[in-house]
Assembly symmetry: C2
Homo-oligomer: 450 residues x 2
């Protein structure tokens, strides 16, 4: 896919240099909006503006939505007033909101002029919802029916109002106070017998969410039930919008990326890697690096405090990296598993005891396996005294045990006290486990070797 | 949600003990299949079988699909032949395949008896596709139209054939050789003027995938374009099935989980954490732990080889953990970012140079920041000789640099040579970086301190 696009981009640049616009237009108008947007990223803005003017209204708007905010900004600035109006008229409210949120104040002011009063009202409403709420990702353009409607009336209503709706396939039945009564799908409407009313047909126990619900939970719910869309109600139970499956997919993907970044001690960013500047990337990475570096120096303290033991048995130093790494890895395995389980809702706080009990058994199994393998290896390869081998292997079991307990408990605890579990991942765990590992190591050493 | 279910589970157990089946049925029949399945997991199998018999046919089948394979197996064994047939009749082909793939041979044999001949044919076809292919997740139940149809004929066709289709909203236009001609949505059909034909209305340049395409790419494509479903064609370009958005969401979620597991040096598993046995979990975790432990011992070798330097400047040992951890963290940051970018298709091999150039600059920025902070800290807090501080800080810059270069290049390289980039994450990087870090450390030390 990516490579095809690079090809097309090359071809496009050539055609542009030869001013063969008609031919280029012929290629572009067959492409999907998302691909056109990707293609435009490869081209200079003046060519983009030119090509954009060639596109039919709807395709132009769909493409505009797919572009990244940088390009959108440039285009808006390049647009004439009438061009800007034409694009905005074609946009869905939720897309317009997404764009407005990314634009600088002056651009927003210019856009708002061309937004119809009703649309402006809904935009302002959506903009008021907190960033991670269902309200912030919902679309306000949906089909609503009333229970008295006959099937034919329902279809007439859908035909009249369906044009500018993001989905018409799930219709929501509301009363005159806009309270959510039920839900009915176009599939049901198409397949049922003509003499029924919407009220007869509709499903009355509707799964819905509130404008204030966390958008990740909403996406999970929609995914769990395989819905096309989930209705969103305000605190007076009035239907104010819907969250559609495509927005849910985006939320789930973004959340997964964010978790991975946090697990890797990176502050999450909105932009993709290649679009993030060097300083922005530095800002994402340096805080945790600094924090973890400082805390790691405490591990150093433990070594210094054990100087005399080390100076007597310098060989002990040789096993420090192995013990630290194994601890970090063992802890990371547990924490990442638990963190993912938590964010997928497969694990909840109430499971903490069964999780702990399981990690205890797994950690002992892993620890003993590693110790056994290591014991043989030390005696055969390193050929050091049996006591030293014993010290290392006993420590190994202890380290893996500690690592996995810390690794499974910290995320659950974090979740419980309202922290983000993802932060309790490998790097953080490693720092803690390292210190404990060395403490145990030298303790065991002084016990067995003196 | 989870907590509500626990409540309902308690109530259900009570009602069961009091044999108040009617009341319990009243509660259950209002619930969503996915929730009923979760509830059933909490109940003893004999009660589940009993309740299952109470459910209406369709709801029973939908619930059955949502259950985990263990419960499905138990239920099938408990079913009478007629009950089994009733459930299977209601299942979609792709769901049946998913179930069959999880069942032991004897259960499969029993199930297959009640599968209609046509269904058996499609099942066998789907079972032949490789596990990660589009063919393995596609559904063969879709609505196909021919271009000659009028809008009304199209609707009649949809009404006749729509009952047992997973989605009717995207219809596919094929010729008499079943070659894919175009695609038309029910929305278009509803909103267009009655006197058109399907041919006039359909979108001719259809985005499709092949049965052999990787299911993750297919899911990405479907997500990229926000489609409800993506058509799947065989190697003669005949339409054989469709992949629906809900399956795509599952694929994307599973792939993200798999990547996280691999990044944490865990062998991925199909089952959720709580459903995986202790030994299974051990099997997932021990291979990498062993491998990384062995390789970490080489880092130990480097320390032993530097024994004399260490015995002269024991203080050097104190900074080993900090240098190792920082290296691991810095490398992990880069690798995880790149790996995610690769799997989301935001980064491709052709970007390797811009990635490298960016990581070089970021790594120097990070390295210098850390070195500066550390230099002050060492002089103020640790109060060691300036030369030692210099050694540590110079090493620090070098380590962060090496870590980030290794961290960004290895995943891209892995992808290029057809390996899974996710394996090239933190633990693996850490082990390499640790060795390099210490090598540099002692080299710099011997240069500056002697």
């Amino acid at each position: 896919m990516q490579d095809d696009l690079n090809q097309i981009a090359e071809e496009a640049k050539e055609l542009l240099s030869e001013k063969k616009y008609a031919k280029l237009y012929g290629i572009i108008k067959e492409m999907m909006p998302a691909d056109i947007a990707l293609l435009f990223e490869e081209l200079p803005i003046e060519d983009v503006t030119l090509l954009f003017r060639l596109l039919p209204k709807t395709l132009a708007a769909d493409t505009f939505v797919e572009m990244d905010s940088e390009q959108q900004k440039k285009l808006i600035t390049a647009f004439s007033d009438s061009e800007l109006k034409a694009v905005i008229d074609e946009l869905y409210v939720d897309d317009t909101v997404d764009i407005i949120e990314e634009m600088p104040a002056n651009v927003v002011r210019r856009m708002i002029q061309y937004v119809s009063p009703e649309m402006r009202k809904s935009i302002n409403e959506i903009l008021q919802y907190p960033a991670d709420s269902a309200g912030s990702i919902m679309t306000v353009e949906f089909v609503d029916l009333s229970r008295e409607m006959t099937i034919d009336q329902a279809f007439d209503h859908i035909r009249e109002n369906g044009y500018d709706k993001e989905t018409i396939y799930t219709c929501y039945v509301i009363d005159r106070n806009r309270k959510l009564q039920g839900v009915v799908s176009v599939q049901q409407l198409l397949l049922c017998s003509r003499n029924m009313t919407v009220g007869d047909l509709m499903e009355e126990n509707v799964v819905f969410c509130r404008t204030t619900d966390d958008k990740e939970d909403v996406a999970q719910t929609l995914n769990k039930y395989g819905f096309l869309a989930l209705p969103v109600v305000d605190n007076e139970d009035r239907l104010v919008g819907i969250v559609t499956f495509d927005d849910a997919i985006d939320v789930l993907t973004e959340e997964a990326t964010e978790d991975m970044e946090k697990m890797a001690a990176i502050l999450p960013s909105e932009k993709t890697y290649l679009k993030t500047g060097v300083f922005a990337t530095w800002k994402q990475r340096i805080p945790w690096l600094l924090l973890l570096m400082i805390s790691a120096t405490f591990t150093g303290k433990i070594i210094t405090s054990a100087e005399d033991a080390l100076s007597r048995y310098v060989v002990l130093t040789a096993f420090i990296p192995m013990l630290m790494d194994t601890g970090g890895n063992a802890g990371g395995q547990s924490s990442v598993t638990i963190i993912r389980g938590l964010s997928l809702g497969e694990i909840s706080f109430s499971d903490w005891l069964s999780v702990l009990w399981k990690e205890i058994r797994v950690s002992l199994l892993c620890g003993l396996t590693l110790a056994a393998a290591n014991f043989v290896k030390i005696l055969v390869v390193d050929q050091v005294a049996v006591q030293v081998a014993a010290v290392v292997c006993i420590t190994l079991v202890a380290v893996v045990f500690i690592a996995k307990i810390v690794g499974c408990l910290l995320p659950i605890l974090a979740k419980r006290i309202g922290f983000d579990p993802a932060v309790m991942a490998s790097p953080f765990i490693t720092t803690i486990v390292d210190a404990l590992a060395l403490a145990v190591y030298f303790r065991v050493a002084t016990l067995l070797l003196s």
